[in-house]
């Protein structure tokens, strides 16, 4: 039936395999090696230094500072985004006027480039021309911080923007899961006299556990990246208050030509991403509810 199928298989697979292998897999593999060298990028030969870059990493206070910032995002973003998204998804699927409108609108920011989002919010936070301060002023709130210019406030200010952008995406993601729940489950709950709140805890949440785990992993990966929005809004400042590992590795590699060290940070960050993804999947593992 599949006579001469290799005449099709090989030319169909080859271009994709070559491009993917050369531009994606090969650099990843090379990164592992470069992280073990002290390469400055200027010379062809790289001196193998073993794990020295990683030892230096452990003593680098800026590394720990950036990691700390990533971890703050890692804890706060999933918590806020998933709570809001789950709540909105539940409300929108359980019968509310304008459901379709909310669904379309809440998703809007997700299709915007993070650069556009960042520049837009730079303006909103801007102390003189921004609308945030004058809006809060309407409620008599005075002594407002300089937002992105204030080391104590900049990080939460950036986090708020990411929340603003992501809630709609996860809402739609949860809605898709909720719509797959057979209506009979809700009927049974209704007959049993469960109210909205009980229905949520006893029916919706357990059945959406798998979706929630996936959302957690996605958000964790996002929280450990944060490159574009940070680069656009603060470039890691003020005084490294919003510097995350991806920014720190970029600066090391491409600004200071410490390619070996920069790549070591990238590898460490990759291992951190991997570890957290596995940890989250482990910690949230439950027997799947089949339906």
């Amino acid at each position: 039936m599949y006579r001469g199928k290799y005449k099709l298989i090989i030319p169909f697979l080859l271009p994709a395999l070559v491009l993917y292998g050369l531009f994606v897999l090969y650099p990843y593999a090379q990164a592992m090696y470069i992280s073990l060298t002290d390469w400055s990028g200027l010379t062809a030969e790289k001196d193998f230094v073993g794990l020295r870059n990683f030892g230096r990493l452990l003593r680098d206070e800026y590394f720990w500072n950036a990691l700390k910032n990533n971890l703050i995002y890692l804890v706060s973003l999933p918590l806020v985004v998933i709570s809001l998204a789950f709540f909105f998804a539940f409300v929108v699927t359980r019968g509310v006027a304008l459901a379709k409108f909310y669904r379309v609108v809440f998703f809007f920011p997700q299709v915007m480039s993070a650069v556009a989002v960042g520049v837009l919010w730079n303006f909103i936070y801007h102390p003189t021309i921004g609308i945030l301060n004058s809006f809060l002023g309407l409620f008599g709130i005075q002594n407002l911080p300089a937002w992105l210019g204030d080391p104590n406030v900049a990080l939460p200010a950036v986090a708020a923007v990411v929340i603003w952008q992501s809630v709609g995406f996860y809402m739609v993601f949860f809605i898709a899961g909720m719509e797959a729940i057979p209506e009979t489950f809700y009927e049974v709950a209704r007959i049993a006299g469960a109210n909205r709140w009980q229905t949520f805890w006893r029916v919706t949440l357990p059945l959406l556990w798998e979706n929630t785990r996936v959302a957690l992993v996605y958000l964790a990966m996002g929280a450990l990246n944060m490159f574009t929005i940070t680069q656009t809004m603060t470039e890691g400042g003020p005084s490294r208050a919003t510097e995350v590992l991806s920014i720190y590795l970029y600066k090391n590699a491409f600004t200071h030509s410490r390619f070996g060290y920069g790549t070591a940070i990238a590898v460490a960050l990759f291992l951190i991403v991997l570890a957290f993804s596995m940890l989250i999947m482990r910690a949230t593992a439950r027997e799947a509810v089949e339906y």
Binding site: L13, F108, S134, F270
Partner: protein
């Protein structure tokens, strides 16, 4: 696949209100509260975008002294300045030059690969599929430094061709993952009948399978378009020649230079220029995007 499993119509009818006095008041109260929350979030989401839209038509004076007000006279000139003087027009074209071929080739190559992986059993089939899927696990920044030097050694730094090839490479894992599932879900009778008839394999693919796969291709096309149009980190590292900046880089650069240029209204106009294509694509293909999302979920 989730595409078939999802119910078409969401439950949007009102849950009936209980008739009892107190229960009814309570239900009404909660309904009002929900609308309040939804309404507040809707305003938080929409207002900043509207604000950018109408601010892009104001003068610098107005932007500074009355940040909330609508433009007194529409300053279309802001767009002209952004487009010509600050080169947003050039960056826009650069983005098109990169994204259009990347998108077409990604669709073609991932459809070819997915078709073979979904429909032809051969030793190593699974391994190749997993090899592609594993690419979704790696974060982009891990490969940045080696990628930079790889392109440099191929003389492809600061070239559109280089960036296009990289975009395709990075788009393949998700596209192939998605389309393999899609090709598997297509009915096989037509395919088998065509093979029995001895039709040329290429003819089968291009004139039977590709048209059948159109809905999947549209979904994956929309996702890739948004991803490529909004991509920042790859061009940021690989394209340092300012004449070859893509739109996201151009906007970031403009934002960075504002403190010297002081042309705020043109910057607002530039945000609008970068936003509009993605919003149009979103409005047109809203259904595909939302359906495509379910594939990422484990039930997919």
């Amino acid at each position: 696949m989730a595409i078939e499993g999802t119910r078409e119509q969401p439950v949007t009818e009102h849950t009936p209100l209980p008739s009892g006095g107190w229960e009814r008041t309570k239900a009404l109260f909660f309904r009002a509260l929900m609308h309040l929350f939804l309404g507040i979030w809707a305003v938080i989401v929409i207002f900043p975008m509207l604000w950018v839209l109408y601010t892009s038509l104001k003068t610098d004076q107005e932007i500074f002294f009355s940040p909330w007000s609508l433009p007194r006279v529409m300053q279309w000139d802001n767009f002209f300045r952004a487009w010509v003087k600050v080169n947003i027009g050039r960056y826009f074209l650069n983005s098109l030059v990169v994204v259009v071929p990347s998108l077409i080739l990604t669709l073609l190559l991932s459809a070819m690969t997915a078709y073979v992986l979904a429909r032809f059993p051969f030793p190593g089939n699974r391994a190749i599929l997993y090899l592609f899927i594993s690419g979704m696990m790696f974060p982009v920044f891990l490969g940045l430094v080696p990628l930079f030097f790889l392109l440099r050694s191929l003389d492809m730094l600061n070239t559109f061709v280089g960036l296009i090839l990289v975009y395709i490479g990075y788009s393949l894992p998700f596209s192939i993952f998605f389309l393999t599932g899609f090709f598997r879900s297509l009915p096989s009778e037509l395919h088998e009948a065509a093979i029995m008839d001895g039709a040329n394999q290429y003819t089968i693919f291009f004139s039977i399978m590709l048209p059948l796969a159109q809905p999947g291709l549209v979904t994956i096309g929309v996702f890739n378009f948004l991803g490529m149009w909004n991509q920042f980190i790859l061009p940021f590292v690989l394209m340092s020649d300012r004449k070859k900046y893509v739109l996201t880089q151009g906007l970031a650069y403009m934002n960075h230079q504002q403190y010297y240029l002081n042309d705020w209204s043109a910057l607002f106009a530039a945000i609008v220029v970068i936003m509009v294509p993605t919003l149009i694509v979103y409005v047109l293909f809203q259904g595909q995007i939302q359906r495509g999302l379910t594939v990422g979920a484990l039930k997919g």
